[in-house]
């Protein structure tokens, strides 16, 4: 309830500050103008195309990164020798800023969705991988012994349930990183999507449109967070960390 009040205050400030001339309106148009620009955009075909492009790049990149991260993470995590041997390489590759790959991607793949996709996959892969590695390492010794006595398939009954909460965290982190990189790729590389539309709006000095598009990406970001949290709760309904939150 109070949160809505906070949002209303934020909106009111956004409307009033430019109207009263505290903030020059060519820098930050009042909210009503941005909303009007958004309405005009929403009637355009290219706006929805851009939204679709961004969402597709985001989902595709996230999907590839999650699958690759889980597979590589379980394989590396389950074999102690592989784990120690790859630790330094992972430590080195992970902090390489994904944007460093932009020029490489452009030179090798041109101004296409593939270039942006590479950035998205690279950045979100590490988020998932690191979490999976932590998760697999967290296996309870008693559960390990039980599984080996009863000869249960290890991945299905041991690593997967232990790692799942970590995987969920990794996916949630990766989802927001993937969105950042998808839009960044579109902005800098110029592959189709919301990022490119923002760059175009800036070049043609269409300030209200630009704010409208920024607003849309923010809303997509919020939606992605909410969705990831929801999926996390669904996947982990059996886990104590989620169960505890249900009032007894």
């Amino acid at each position: 309830m109070k949160g809505l009040l906070g949002l209303a205050c934020f909106g009111a400030l956004w409307e009033l500050l430019p109207r009263l001339g505290v903030v020059p309106s060519q820098w930050a148009p009042p909210l009503s103008e941005v909303v009007r620009a958004l309405g005009a955009e929403a009637r355009e075909r290219r706006f929805w195309d851009a939204v679709t492009d961004t969402l597709v790049t985001w989902a595709l990149g996230l999907g590839i990164a999650v699958v690759a991260g889980i597979v590589v993470g379980v394989v590396i995590g389950a074999v102690p020798l592989l784990r120690t041997a790859t630790a330094s390489t992972i430590e080195f590759l992970r902090p390489i800023p994904s944007v460093a790959l932009i020029p490489l991607a452009v030179v090798l793949y041109g101004v296409t969705i593939t270039s942006t996709l590479i950035l998205v996959v690279y950045a979100s892969f590490w988020q998932v991988l690191i979490q999976v590695l932590h998760g697999v390492a967290d296996v309870d010794p008693v559960a390990r012994d039980t599984a080996s006595i009863y000869r249960l398939p290890k991945v299905r009954y041991l690593y997967w349930p232990t790692a799942l909460p970590y995987v969920a965290t990794g996916v949630r982190l990766a989802a927001s990183v993937a969105l950042i990189l998808a839009v960044t790729g579109e902005l800098v590389i110029g592959s189709p999507g919301l990022g490119k539309q923002i760059a175009l709006a800036q070049m043609s000095n269409a300030v209200p449109q630009m704010y409208a598009l920024v607003l849309v990406t923010g809303l997509i970001g919020v939606a992605a967070n909410v969705l990831a949290r929801f999926a996390e709760r669904r996947a982990l309904f059996w886990h104590p960390s989620v169960r505890r939150e249900v009032p007894a």
Binding site: K2, G3, L4, L5, G6, L7, C9, F10, P24, Q26, W27, A28, T84, A85, T86, A87, S88, T89, F92, R94, P95, I96, P97, S98, V99, A100, L101, I102, P103, L104, V106, V107, L108, S176, L179, I180, V183, T184, L187, V188, L194, G195, I198, A199, A201, Q202, V207, M210, Y211, L213, V214, T217, G218, L219, I220, G221, V222, A224, N225
Partner: protein
């Protein structure tokens, strides 16, 4: 002795093997876009170990440092203020969630509107991107302060802010600061790629547009090295700041 040797061997084994494979697999490469590693290393030496380091790399790093430090200060101050009051927290939470969800790089064109393309714009972009993980983690950390300790402080008249609140929130704050550092490096590069007249990101894009491919690869390599070096520095700083925390965690595990 032999145990340390073995550890060093395991630590270095795979990276050395990978670089060796790259070196020999790319040796004599005639592909214009994928030059040999030897050529890249040579370009690296010619391009970056000279006046260019001072002209292009240092300005970038200076902007990053200023923006990052400002973001840490602002994030912690605002985060503590919000975290200490239940009412402000409820009031601001959705707004903060929204602002955090905006991918920071797309703010480059927006901030360019009023800050131009000079240093101010880049610092503002970095501050605006870095502040969210720090701020939100500070809020969470301050909120999770142990109530018994809060009461103890009150009873004994200890000033809670420095001795308790900041201290108990510091592991969370450092987590936020680590995320912010990665975002800061990204924004440093992006803001220069979109609009600049000097800096690392600008130079690499110039190489790319001029089809100076080995130089471009060497720039990518340098960015990677900077990322790794800053992450290493951060790790050292974190160990120092949180020495009490890691100590107590290790003691718990035993």
């Amino acid at each position: 002795m032999s145990a340390t040797l073995k550890r060093v061997g395991i630590w270095l084994g795979l990276p050395v093997a990978l670089v060796t494979v790259w070196w020999f697999a790319s040796a004599g490469s005639t592909d214009f876009f994928r030059p040999s590693l030897q050529r890249i290393v040579q370009a690296f030496r010619e391009t970056w170990l000279g006046p260019r380091f001072v002209e292009e790399v240092l300005p970038s790093l200076a902007r990053l440092a200023v923006g990052y430090v400002l973001a840490v200060i602002l994030g912690v101050v605002i985060g503590v203020a919000i975290g200490l009051s239940v009412r402000t927290r409820a009031l601001t939470e959705p707004v903060l969630e929204f602002l955090r969800a905006i991918p920071p790089p797309i703010l480059v064109p927006v901030i360019m509107l009023f800050a131009g393309i000079e240093n101010t714009m880049k610092v503002i972009v970095i501050v605006f991107g870095c502040i969210w993980p720090i701020l939100l983690n500070t809020v969470e950390g301050v909120r999770a302060t142990d109530e018994v300790l809060t009461d103890t402080c009150q009873v004994y008249g200890v000033k809670p802010l420095r001795h308790l609140v900041l201290q108990s929130a510091s592991p969370q704050i450092m987590t936020g600061a680590r995320q912010a550092l990665a975002i800061g490096i990204i924004l440093m590069v992006i803001s220069e790629m979109v609009a600049a007249n000097n800096g690392l990101g600008f130079t690499i894009v110039q190489f790319q547009r001029g089809f100076q491919i080995p130089e471009m690869w060497s720039g990518v390599l340098l960015l990677g090295l900077i990322g790794v070096a800053l992450a290493g520095l951060f790790h050292l700083a974190e160990r120092r700041v949180l020495v009490w925390y890691h100590g107590s965690r290790d003691a718990d595990r035993r």
